[in-house]
Point group: C2
Chain length 314, copies 2
């Protein structure tokens, strides 16, 4: 995890499955390559990756596949936060050993109403167990799903005790005031704040933040990356770019996001297997699928990497 | 999983840790033996076992230890429901191979607001993957913690398609009306309903239910088991027994339950290491510890297996 810290746009990479729910490695590889070519980093094993529907062994194996196939590990920020410290340590250590730029770490999320002291001990135990200066942890704050959040007090305490290992945060609270507070309090000290959606990308960048880690990066990669690359340019039309991104996001947000993105890829890459989700998630209904296609057509929206994804061998 | 179906009282066995958060196998074994001697079955790896703070490998190993040391696997109902189907299959298959009486299976609990269809596919996929007639699944309904529940419609569909594998439920909703509905709808068909707390034990038994699977079984084992064994006897004073159980439960419920039970064992077994919890859970504060001891002393409450637990080698 040496070298330049990640910035700009990363996406929680969708995990393609075969009809028997096994991971489709060829589709996964093609998708990761297409994202990198569009300058979007690989936050594999995020919420939108159905990462918690994969075992630790499956995630270790997929990281190995990506590294073996030459995908750049310095553009990877795998999700490694599990309910069990022992799992988090195993997966995080593997990511560090492979040279990943960082790890995105959920708090343990089974028990609700846990204390900041308990969450502090979770992260501290993991950092101490790994004991590697290359470790860069990005905290993952997504209370709407995990129901367990990362408070400003917890960040402050972790940063004080582990300034080298605590590298930043993804804020998926959906609450701009929370992101703004993190940007004000911690970004100046080099704690990189990533918005959890591109709808906050321009605001985050203008407030000194690092970028965004966003689900829709799976389907609108190049356009989101372009805003992150050009927002300071006088002639870039940053606000207009942001509006266009919001429009696309708005379409996908009308549906359950993960199945909607998979459905769109399945359609535009002409590869029906892309629509498969692992339980407990389910694919869009036929009516939802039709409505999504109409919405995308009406907006003339085309997934820019769709051709690169087409006709993957399972 | 052949033979008589479990009934009566089981407890989600507390998992004792060393100060470095590794599992204390000697303490775990002593505690399991003491519970069996008091006629309480071993629902190891439940919520109160901090099971989701253990990796699948740790749980497999602990099951092996119990079996190797001669603990009766036909009195065991390990928790094997994980977020990832692949993990649930691995752990459940291991339990079946060891001859466990059944498994207690949480739904996948990371994603919230999932559909009954998605939960059905989760359970169906696991049952199909294991493909073993010995498999007996007890569904685990604990919405206050998991935030993902088991509906009556889901039970009905699973029972229809998998009448052999779907064996019963633990209802930890805390809602008697829900337990009563399950008892009415499904118990007559042999779907065994266990209350999730002994406060509902007598009511559950009087409505034809199988018993209870209760946290407090860790500290009040013999008394709870006695009610389950004697409730039909005219001279047993079942209602008075129930009231006494409720009184003890009420003490522990004043505090965070898991640390309170561990604190009580640490105190009465004179073994301070018993108070350790794995993050994100934390031990009682000094004030809470003192208050709990005063409450237990005022009630003249003594953990009946405390001496058997004393002075375990770590």
């Amino acid at each position: 995890m040496a070298g330049k810290k990640p910035s700009g746009v990363l996406t929680p990479v969708l995990t393609p499955f075969n009809s028997d729910y096994s991971v489709s490695r060829p589709r996964f590889l093609k998708h990761c390559r297409a994202l990198i070519e569009q300058d979007v980093g690989l936050a594999v094993f995020g919420t939108n990756s159905e990462a918690n529907s994969l075992s630790v062994a499956e995630k270790r194996h997929l990281l190995d596949v990506l590294a073996d196939e030459g995908l750049p590990t310095d553009r990877m920020m795998p999700g490694t936060g599990c309910c069990a410290i022992t799992d988090s340590v195993e997966l995080t250590r593997h990511a560090v050993d492979l040279g990943c730029a960082g790890v995105l770490m959920l708090p343990p999320f089974y028990y609700k109403g846990v204390s900041d002291e308990g969450l502090y001990r979770n992260y501290a135990s993991i950092i101490d167990a790994i004991g590697d200066d290359r470790l860069k942890i990005y905290l993952y704050h997504i209370p709407p799903v995990s129901q367990v959040g990362i408070s400003l007090n917890l960040i402050e305490r972790l940063l004080k005790d582990y300034p080298g290992a605590i590298a930043g945060i993804k804020d998926s609270s959906g609450d701009w005031n929370n992101t703004a507070a993190m940007l004000k309090e911690f970004q100046p000290a080099g704690f990189d704040v990533f918005a959890g959606s591109e709808v906050f990308l321009l605001r985050t960048l203008r407030h000194g933040g690092a970028g965004c880690i966003t689900a829709t990066g799976n389907v609108n990669a190049a356009a989101i990356a372009r805003l992150a690359a050009t927002w300071r340019d006088d002639d870039a039309g940053a606000d207009e770019q942001q509006s266009a991104l919001d429009g696309v996001r708005g379409i996908f947000q009308k549906y359950p996001m993960i199945p909607a993105m998979k459905s769109a890829i399945a359609w535009q890459a002409q590869d029906p297997a892309w629509a498969v989700l692992r339980p407990p998630l389910v694919e869009l209904t036929a009516d939802q699928t039709q409505a999504l296609r109409q919405d995308l057509s009406a907006a003339s929206f085309q997934i820019q990497n769709a051709q690169a994804l087409a006709h993957a061998d399972a």
